[in-house]
Symmetry: none
Subunit: 418 residues, 2 copies
């Protein structure tokens, strides 16, 4: 049914062209949300949309929508979205591939003068990573009504207290007028191509993964209040060392995750005062917990919090915990998944179904509109690292499968419209 | 034997008068080396010396010697020294009490027209803290020939790269002509009063501590090289989490220190990339190890390093270790300590002997001339903080004990001279 193909050279070349903004010497990327390179790539992205005659929308969260008109523009657009922001030492594929897939599909329609029934739009969701402003997928979260605009604007820069998301968004000139809302800026569906960030496809030697749904995730922020003292005069007994307490808790996160067959990681820690001859009196760290099933996630994290509480009691340090995020495991839309599967079969691509261990913007859009995702293989499953890599073939296969899926879904809307 | 007493009101008042330079609103001090307030208090210090008819010497490190003539000025002076510089958020007693004790003793001699046998000098050693120019006790280190003048001049401002100690010393006009050397600017002995920066005296309710010597200290800088990965897709098995490895090592420092009866602390840690959903691939942390005896310190640290090595092997992370400082434990001079003890007994002051867990200028002078120290109680052992406090009685007791000790030591030189 798909009568044309994506241009595998073009998507590869433009992807790497756009990575000039944020490129690091090790071949990776540092394009954390709202930094100068994020601003530059946004300008590039909008220019690419204009070349294709797209209407440009920027919403209150700085999310950019490039909209290519269809036959009936009273219908909400079918979106192909992901994100252009990266981790501080991230790679060139996580998120970036998904946005470039959307661009490549628009270019393919454009050069073939193909007019879809519904408008098609490519979305660059702001701050999917949450690396600098620790609220991941915050823009799709606001769009879907799960996070308030105010809460989003008040997220603080994790390494620069006093810098807030809203103000920084304004500073780079991307606080738009369009309401960040599925009601006032609706979509008919949301499709996303993303690297697997795991090894299942690579190990099985498959071309793509059709994502069944997403694992459950809980994030916590923990603060430890101990007592500062001089390292040379304070006896070991009776110390209230906030970093030593944190260390015991970090090992406890690791052990409890293993015990429950989940994942548990401490990625950020900030002890104070950071002096070699002062016992740390304070420490703050993040905890990331995940599990395939939400019931198991709850069991695992409940036990973890009891264990951490016990450690703080044993070490006589004050302890506060804040749950900063709880994402409940979900299933994607069956029609969208069917469109992907038919496209994969038609294009002779091998595939399997699998769950995502990671939140994506599609997790939030799925709560409001039909949504599905395609995973493509990435080398050794490495991600959030300069070593992150997907081959030109993998990138092209994902785009080709998505092209067919979008055309199918558009046809379906046409039939429903008639 | 001591026929006169220090003036407890005068030492307290002049101490706080001199703290007008560098005073912070919270009652603490910020008089980091060579800042404007350090310059002003130096001018005040020299003026006080001139009032007492002292000869003023400024050496190549900016260390100031106020010398009051004795009967035989061919003999090297008996020094009472400490430092007027503070931490950026420091207190009014650490170092400052020691210099004011020296001034008060000269004033007491002066008003009683007491002529010592040897000249007596008060020393303000430059940059004991190493807070701005990170080389602690650097001037006594140069004086004693353990640090080269060139190395000292090349220490860089920790917060303002490009500003060097030598140039900044010149800028405030305190780069003197007198050689910074125990050979060319000798002393007969060095006495120092300092706050304990611990709680033993306060807890035991004693007036002073006679410092037996100084604990051995070893500092290490450890780097862990693991593998970054996504927290949501990387299985727990086979992770190379640099922060988890560091945490296990931090607990190992604590346990090994306890096992050997030493002190062990990790005060600084910098994992990367500091993102809540990225497994830390790198971590760097400081280790501070101390023990009363150098032999025990070596045994303890040797075992610690083996344990850390084993942890890095078990977790399959790369591990590098650098020893950044090794201060060998030392004993102070028995004659100097005896002079202090006799003075304490004569003055009806309660005392105990204890080791210092912290380096002081006396640690360097002790390598070249007879040296001893008196500790005075400080509230809750708090130091390097605006909360640092010693009572007027504690300050006066320390000065009175030192007055008697200096007179005794001077008598001893007279007897030897005869």
């Amino acid at each position: 049914m798909t009568t044309f193909r994506v241009n595998s050279t073009r998507i590869w070349d433009t992807l790497h062209e756009s990575c000039q903004w944020g490129a690091t010497p090790d071949g990776g990327m540092n394009r954390v949300t709202l930094n100068d390179d994020d601003k530059r790539v946004r300008e590039w992205f909008i220019l690419e949309g204009k070349k294709l005659g797209c209407q440009i929308k920027i919403d209150q969260m700085g999310t950019i929508f490039l909209i290519r008109a269809g036959e009936d523009n009273s219908i909400a657009p079918i979106a192909i979205g992901s994100h252009l922001d990266t981790q501080p030492s991230g790679g060139r594929y996580d998120g970036i591939v998904g946005v470039h897939t959307g661009l490549e599909i628009l270019r393919t329609f454009h050069e073939n003068n193909y007019v879809t029934y519904a408008p098609i739009c490519v979305v660059n969701w702001t701050n999917e990573e949450g690396a600098r402003f620790p609220k991941t997928m915050v823009s799709s979260g606001v769009w879907s009504g799960q996070i308030s605009l105010e809460d989003a604007y008040n997220v603080e820069d994790i390494n620069n207290p006093g810098l807030f998301f809203g103000k920084e968004l304004e500073k780079i000139g991307y606080k738009g007028e369009v309401p960040a809302s599925y009601k006032d800026n609706p979509l008919s569906a949301h499709f996303e191509v993303h690297i697997e960030q795991g090894t299942r496809l690579e190990t099985a030697g498959l071309d793509i993964g059709i994502v069944s749904g997403v694992k459950g995730i809980r994030w916590f922020e923990i603060e430890i209040f101990g007592t500062e003292g001089h390292t040379g005069t304070t006896p070991m007994e009776g110390r209230k060392d906030a970093l030593a307490a944190s260390s015991e808790m970090i090992l406890c996160v690791e052990e409890t995750a293993k015990k429950h067959g989940g994942l548990g990681t401490v990625g950020v820690i900030h002890p104070l005062p950071q002096s070699p001859n002062t016992i740390p009196g304070y420490s703050k760290f993040s905890v990331d917990c995940r599990h395939d099933s939400n019931a198991d996630l709850v069991r695992y994290t409940e036990e973890l919090l009891e264990n951490l509480e016990a450690i703080s009691r044993k070490r006589q340090v004050k302890y506060t915990i804040k749950e900063t995020w709880h994402f409940k495991q979900l299933e994607f839309d069956s029609d969208c998944k069917a469109a992907i599967q038919e496209s994969a079969e038609e294009n002779g691509l091998t595939f399997t179904s699998l769950y995502s261990g990671i939140g994506h913007d599609s997790c939030y859009t799925a709560t409001r509109v039909p949504t599905a995702m395609i995973f493509i293989p990435c080398k050794n499953g490495i991600s959030h690292s300069p070593k992150e890599y997907s081959s030109p073939k993998a990138v092209a296969d994902g785009a080709q499968a998505m092209l067919g899926a979008v055309i199918r879904y558009d046809q379906r809307l046409r039939e429903l419209g008639k």
